[in-house]
C-alpha cells in the first residue's frame, strides 16, 4: 500500500488537472473575499466565516471529476493490470485510491480556507460586532464535520471512478455531481414545507399588545397574529413515512450533507433544520463505510480485461 500511495502522490504533483483544481479553489475563495469586502465597504453586516463552508459544495463537483480523470488513466493506459501483476491486491489498490482522493479533498480545503481566511480575516473580520452572524463557536464544529463529509465525497468519487472504465467517466462524474446538488436542493425545499399552514381569508395590519403594527390574518371576521392564527393541513406536505425517508436520504447522501453545511451558514434560503455537526459527521462516516464496502466488493469481482 505504501508503494501504491507513493506512486499516486508522485503522479499527483505532475497532474495538470490537480493544479487546475487548486487554482479554481483559490479563485473561488478570492471571489468570496471580494464579495465580502464590497459588503463591508458599504457598512453591511458581514463575516468572512459566512463563506467558510462554501467549499464543501464545490468539492462535491471537484472531487468526483478529479477522481474520474486521475483514476481512469489506470484503465486507459492499462496501468491497473500492471499493479495487480506486480502483486498488489485489489483491496490495496482501491483503498490507496480512496486515501489519495480524500487527501486531494483536504488539500483543496486547505487552499480554499487559506485564501479565504488569510485574506478575509484582516480585511473583513469574523463578524464579532454582529451577534446574529455565525461566529467561530458555530463554524468550527461544522468545519470539523466537513472533514467526514469530504471523506464521504471521496468514497463516492472512487466508487464511480473504479466501477466505470469508459473514458467518458469524467463527464458522468460531472453530470452526477450536478444532478446530486439539484436533488439535494429540491429535497431541502420539500423538507422545509410545513405540515400546517395558517388558515385565513385575508392579510391585514393589526396592532399587537405593545401597540406596534404587525402583519395579521383575518378569518371569518376575526383578526389573529401568526402565533394564534388557526391552521389547516398543508396539501403540499408529503406526510410520513415519506418525510422521514427523505430526511434520512438527505442526511445520508454526501450531496445532502454538503448542501446542509453550505446553506446553513450563508444568507439566503434557510435550510431545513440540519442535524448537529457530530450527527452529520456520523452519517458521513456511515456513507463512507457503505460506499467503500460496496466498491471493494464489486471491484474484487470486476473483469479488468
Amino acid at each position: 500500500m505504501t508503494n501504491l500511495l507513493s506512486a499516486h502522490f508522485a503522479r499527483l504533483w505532475r497532474s495538470a488537472w490537480f493544479w487546475v483544481g487548486s487554482v479554481a479553489m483559490a479563485w473561488i475563495a478570492w471571489r468570496s473575499v471580494e464579495g465580502a469586502r464590497t459588503l463591508a465597504n458599504y457598512g453591511e453586516p458581514v463575516s468572512i466565516l459566512s463563506y467558510a463552508l462554501n467549499f464543501v459544495l464545490v468539492l462535491l463537483i471537484a472531487l468526483p471529476v478529479f477522481a474520474a480523470v486521475f483514476l481512469n488513466a489506470d484503465y486507459y493506459y492499462g496501468v491497473i493490470r500492471n499493479k495487480l501483476t506486480v502483486g498488489q491486491r485489489r483491496g490495496a489498490v482501491y483503498l490507496s485510491d480512496l486515501i489519495l482522493v480524500a487527501s486531494v479533498g483536504l488539500i483543496y480545503t486547505g487552499v480554499y480556507l487559506g485564501v479565504l481566511l488569510g485574506f478575509g480575516l484582516p480585511q473583513v473580520g469574523a463578524g464579532e460586532r454582529f451577534p446574529l452572524l455565525p461566529g467561530w463557536g458555530e463554524v468550527a464544529p461544522k468545519l470539523a464535520a466537513s472533514l467526514a463529509v469530504i471523506l464521504a465525497i471521496g468514497a463516492m468519487s472512487v466508487l464511480l471512478a473504479r466501477l466505470m472504465t469508459h473514458r467518458a467517466v469524467p463527464l458522468a462524474a460531472l453530470g452526477l455531481a450536478l444532478a446530486l446538488i439539484f436533488a439535494a436542493r429540491t429535497a431541502d425545499q420539500m423538507l422545509l414545507t410545513p405540515a400546517e399552514v395558517p388558515s385565513y381569508d385575508e392579510i391585514v395590519p393589526i396592532m399587537d399588545e405593545s401597540g406596534r403594527t404587525v402583519k395579521g390574518y383575518r378569518k371569518d371576521g376575526v383578526d389573529y397574529t401568526l402565533e394564534d392564527c388557526p391552521t389547516e393541513p398543508n396539501p403540499e406536505y408529503m406526510g410520513e413515512p415519506l418525510h422521514a425517508a427523505l430526511a434520512f436520504a438527505q442526511n445520508f447522501s454526501p450531496a445532502g450533507q454538503a448542501y446542509q453545511l453550505y446553506s446553513d451558514t450563508v444568507s439566503g434560503p434557510v435550510s431545513a433544520l440540519p442535524p448537529p455537526p457530530g450527527v452529520l459527521a456520523g452519517f458521513a462516516l456511515g456513507f463512507t463505510a457503505a460506499a467503500t464496502g460496496l466498491g471493494l466488493a464489486v471491484f474484487q469481482r470486476k473483469d479488468l480485461k
Binding site: V69, R167, A168, L171
Partner: protein, 304 residues
C-alpha cells in the same frame, strides 16, 4: 457523394450511441419539468405569457450537453483509430471535418426539436397557447445560429485535441463562456456614480414600521437626498466598455445571455438589447472563422 457517405456513417453511429439517447431523454425530461415548474409558480405569482416563459429554458442545458456529446463523438474517432480509416479509403480531411461539424450541429438541432416538441405538447393543455409566437420563432432561429457557432467552436477543439481530456476541457469551456458572460455583464452594469455613505442601520418608526437609516462616514444619520455621490471605481469606461460589450456579443455565452434575458442592463438601470441581425452576423461569422481555422490546422495535423 463522399460527404454524404461520411454523414451517413456518422448519423448511423450517433443513433446507435447510448449517450445520444441519454441526451435525448434529458432534453425531453427537461421539457416536462419546465411545464411542471411553471405550473407550480403560476399559483404563487402573477404570470403573463406562461407558455412563452419556458420555450428557451433548454438552451443552458444544451449549451453544456452539446460540447460534451460532440467532443465525445469526435474523440471516439481518435480513440478507435477510425479517423485514419476514413482517410485511407479516400476521404479528404476537409470532408471529415465538415461531416463531423454537421453531425454535431444536427444533434443540437435534434435536441432543440425534442425539447420544444415535448414542452409544447405537454404545455399547451396546462399553460395555454403561446402569446407571442412570432417573437418565439425569431428567437428560435437565432438560437439555432448560436448553436451553430457553438458546434463549430467545439468541433475545432475536439478535432485538434486528441487526448481524452478534451471531453472535460470542452464542458468546462462551455461553463466558462457562460460564467464569463455573466461576469462581463455584471461589470458593465456598474453605475458611473455611486452613493458614498458609511453604513446603514434599521430603525422602527413610531407607527411600528421598520425603515432604513443611512449613516455618513462619521457615523451620523444622514438623509438619502443629502448622501454625496462619487465616481464609481468599478465603472468600466471607454474604450474597454465597447470592447467588453463586443466580446459578449460575439462569444456564444454572451449571445446566450442576451437571448435568454432579452438584452442587458446598462449603468442607468435600463435594459438594452443587441439587435438580432447583429447577433446573427456575429454567430455566422464566428462559425465561419472557427471552421476555416479548424480546417487549416486539421490539414496540417499529424494523425499518427
Amino acid at each position: 457523394m463522399a460527404v454524404i457517405n461520411l454523414l451517413s456513417a456518422n448519423f448511423f453511429s450517433m443513433i446507435r450511441s447510448k449517450r445520444f439517447w441519454l441526451g435525448t431523454f434529458i432534453m425531453a425530461a427537461g421539457g416536462v419539468y419546465m411545464v411542471l415548474d411553471i405550473n407550480r409558480m403560476k399559483d404563487m405569482a402573477e404570470f403573463d405569457g406562461l407558455l412563452d416563459s419556458g420555450v428557451f429554458q433548454y438552451a443552458i442545458l444544451l449549451f453544456l450537453i452539446l460540447p460534451a456529446l460532440g467532443s465525445l463523438f469526435i474523440n471516439t474517432d481518435y480513440n478507435d483509430g477510425t479517423i485514419r480509416n476514413k482517410l485511407t479509403v479516400g476521404r479528404t480531411r476537409t470532408q471529415v471535418y465538415l461531416s463531423n461539424l454537421i453531425t454535431v450541429y444536427a444533434a443540437g438541432v435534434f435536441y432543440t426539436l425534442v425539447y420544444e416538441a415535448v414542452y409544447l405538447l405537454v404545455g399547451f393543455p396546462v399553460l395555454g397557447s403561446l402569446r407571442h409566437p412570432q417573437a418565439a420563432l425569431s428567437k428560435l432561429l437565432m438560437m439555432l445560429l448560436l448553436f451553430l457557432a457553438l458546434s463549430a467552436l467545439f468541433t475545432l477543439l475536439a478535432t485538434l485535441i486528441t487526448n481524452r481530456s478534451v471531453l472535460l476541457i470542452c464542458v468546462f469551456m462551455a461553463f466558462g463562456l457562460i460564467l464569463g458572460a455573466q461576469i462581463i455583464n455584471a461589470k458593465l452594469e456598474a453605475p458611473e456614480m455611486i452613493e458614498d455613505y458609511g453604513g446603514v442601520t434599521y430603525i422602527t418608526t413610531e407607527d411600528g414600521n421598520m425603515t432604513v437609516q443611512y449613516m455618513d462616514k462619521n457615523g451620523n444619520p444622514i438623509d438619502p437626498e443629502d448622501i454625496p455621490r462619487v465616481p464609481n471605481p468599478r465603472y468600466v469606461a471607454e474604450p474597454m466598455r465597447t470592447v467588453l460589450r463586443k466580446v459578449n456579443d460575439i462569444q456564444p455565452g454572451g449571445q446566450l445571455a442576451e437571448l435568454l434575458e432579452d438584452g442587458h442592463l446598462e449603468p442607468d438601470g435600463f435594459k438594452t438589447a443587441t439587435p438580432y441581425w447583429q447577433l446573427a452576423l456575429y454567430a455566422a461569422g464566428l462559425a465561419a472563422a472557427v471552421t476555416a481555422g479548424g480546417l487549416i490546422f486539421f490539414r496540417r495535423k499529424d494523425l499518427k
